[in-house]
């Protein structure tokens, strides 16, 4: 298949279409507007629906309606817009509807800025909206990976009847790279016999998150939780990058992980054996992989475009067995590879 040169945002949009998503509802916000722009052009060409909602609140509820009607559907936004969607995401998780939500993160809090950031990690991985639920959250670090994860996201959403988030950032959204679109073979997906398509030849279906009887709501939440436990068991994805002989490990995800790969090359040229552990799923988080590394490794550097969010999961994974230091830039500042090199050198010297 020929390679196409595309921005991350366009590539995510095209990947969604190739994964069979013909329906998109969204609201403009920098730095992800190329996704709705791409969709508004492409979807009508293939008989799909692009609709610009009046707000992110409305957009996510349009997803609720479309997903409830049994079709593949997606929205994309950036941090402030994703905050507005939290109510709807909670309802979607509660009603067990499959859909894909893209967050091309920018700096916060509040209106913040329009430059890349990773400061929505807590919101994405710990819930965000109210209630006992989790999204499955995929964090690509290249445009090509954004393509394959976006395509898989729809299968995962259908498999688990749960919202799946693609967690990117402004840097990834704007970055141009050559990409290939592989045809993924969908696993055996469960039939959508719960969908609202008109009660013809069957009894009426109901899509809801309301359970007034506490016993019934507990049972419902336990059912959702069983899916989350299955995700934790079966869906964890992680890249161990040059960790075999490493004396120091960097932990990073998304765009930052990509910069860390360059830093690792520089460090190795200087004789410092650095490696990286890169969560690809940030929920479920690869705790076990961190624990395994902690048995043979003592020095960890966590790098994020935030003031320290993923580091809390890293600490849980390392179980207090290793020394952890942190380097973060925030507000739209992107850490450069030489900053990461310097921080790693410091850590190596410190512990000796």
């Amino acid at each position: 298949m020929e390679k196409k040169f595309m921005t991350g945002n366009e590539a995510i949009a095209e990947a969604a279409i190739q994964a069979g998503c013909q329906h998109f509802f969204g609201y403009p916000i920098t730095p992800q507007s190329e996704i709705p722009e791409y969709m508004s052009k492409r979807l009508p060409e293939i008989g799909g629906i692009y609709l610009q909602a009046e707000s992110e609140v409305a957009a996510i509820n349009m997803l609720f309606g479309a997903a409830g009607a049994g079709v593949r559907v997606m929205t994309s936004s950036s941090s402030p817009g994703i905050s507005l969607m939290q109510e709807g995401i909670s309802y979607i998780a509660g009603a067990q509807l499959p859909c894909v939500i893209v967050n091309i993160m920018r700096g916060g809090p509040g209106l913040g800025g329009i430059q890349p950031s990773q400061s929505d990690y807590f919101q994405a991985t710990k819930g965000g909206g109210h209630g006992d639920y989790h999204m499955l959250v995929l964090a690509p670090h290249t445009v090509q990976e954004a393509v394959s994860l976006t395509m898989e996201a729809f299968d995962l959403a259908d498999t688990y009847r749960n919202p799946v988030m693609i967690l990117g950032d402004g840097y990834m959204g704007q970055m141009m790279e050559p990409v290939e679109f592989y045809k993924t073979s969908s696993p055996n997906l469960p039939p959508k016999d719960w969908a609202l398509t008109g009660a013809k030849g069957r009894s009426a279906n109901l899509v809801k998150s309301l359970y007034l009887d506490p016993e019934a709501l507990e049972k419902h939440n336990l059912e959702i939780n069983r899916k989350i436990q299955k995700m934790r068991k079966d869906e964890v994805r992680v890249e161990n990058y040059q960790t075999d002989d490493a004396e120091v490990i960097i932990a990073a995800y998304g765009t930052v992980a990509r910069i860390c790969k360059t830093a690792i090359k520089v460090l190795r040229d200087k004789g410092i054996k650095a490696g990286m552990i890169r969560p690809i799923t940030v929920f479920p988080f690869p705790y076990n992989d961190f624990e395994k590394l902690a048995d043979k490794m003592r020095k960890f550097l966590v790098v994020e475009m935030s003031l320290g969010q993923m580091i809390e999961d890293v600490k849980l994974g390392l179980c207090g067995k290793a020394q952890i230091s942190f380097y973060g830039r925030t507000g739209g500042m992107v850490p450069s590879y030489d900053e990461i090199v310097t921080e790693t050198e410091k850590l190596v010297k410190e512990v000796g």
């Binding site: 349009m62 609720f64 009426a204």
Partner: protein, 252 residues
């Protein structure tokens, strides 16, 4: 000797044979029944999809034998939009209270109408927040006492009640907009006609349709059902006049 009787009145097929949770004298029960009758009459039960958001409206899904969503407070028009856009063959309606439609969800309401979404809204205006125990609604009348306007609503403190039918009728996307009441048999017959027109407007693909139903809430108005029915007539109707505010242009 066996006699053959002709059945002239029966439960609509779309209405499940179950007792409702509504209080005695509540308008919701009648409104829900009208929707069921119209669905039967238009023969669309196999392609009808309802959206019942938060409020006393929400349990409608227990009473209608059709596919239904329960939606977040105020978001039903967005949910209905998502459903109808991806499955245009369905007949999609929302069933919303006044707190839901005229307050927290007014953006979704106005924009669904402005876009001319081919959905129908049944809007229950009972001038109060029913489910949460009688707080002031955007439709609460000046002088009306509620648990959060204990001395009566004043315009200085709480502004003025919203007339949703008139407001939506200004929008080009709205094709059929009417206000009716369910406080007397005469009004109920007219209400049924309006609900039917709203659904027909959608089925013909003419645009957005909305029927505002003035509906008694005896419990939170602290009245008997008979007093409540009178209050609709004497207090609500002067401020919320009945009638059709917009009819499809293609209709003569």
């Amino acid at each position: 000797m066996q006699m053959d009787f002709e059945k002239i009145f029966e439960r609509p097929k779309t209405l499940r044979p179950v007792a409702t949770h509504y209080c005695p004298g509540c308008g919701h029960g009648i409104a829900g029944r009208l929707v069921a009758e119209v669905i039967d009459e238009l023969n669309v039960s196999e392609r009808a999809v309802g959206v019942a958001p938060v409020g006393c409206s929400v349990l409608l899904y227990n009473y209608l034998e059709i596919d239904m969503y329960e939606a977040a407070h105020g978001r039903a028009p967005a949910v209905a939009t998502g459903c109808k856009r991806v499955r245009p063959d369905l007949v999609v309606f929302t069933y919303q209270g006044d707190g839901d439609f005229a307050s927290i969800g007014i953006a979704e309401a106005v924009h669904a109408a402005a876009r001319g979404e081919k959905i129908s809204t049944i809007f229950i205006n009972n001038a109060i927040y029913g489910m949460t125990g009688g707080q002031m609604a955007p439709t609460t009348l000046i002088g009306q006492k509620t648990t959060t306007s204990p001395i009566g609503r004043t315009s200085e403190r709480a502004g003025f009640p919203i007339r949703m039918a008139e407001l939506l009728a200004t929008l080009d996307g709205a094709a059929y907009i009417a206000r009716v009441a369910v406080n007397s048999p005469k009004h109920i017959i007219k209400a049924r006609r309006a609900v039917k027109k709203a659904f027909e407007t959608q089925i013909k693909g003419l645009g957005y349709s909305m029927v505002e139903i003035l509906s008694p809430c005896p419990t939170d108005w602290r009245m008997t059902p008979i007093e409540a029915a009178k209050w609709v007539e004497e207090k609500m109707m002067p401020y919320y006049p009945l009638g059709e505010f917009k009819v499809p242009q293609k209709e003569k």
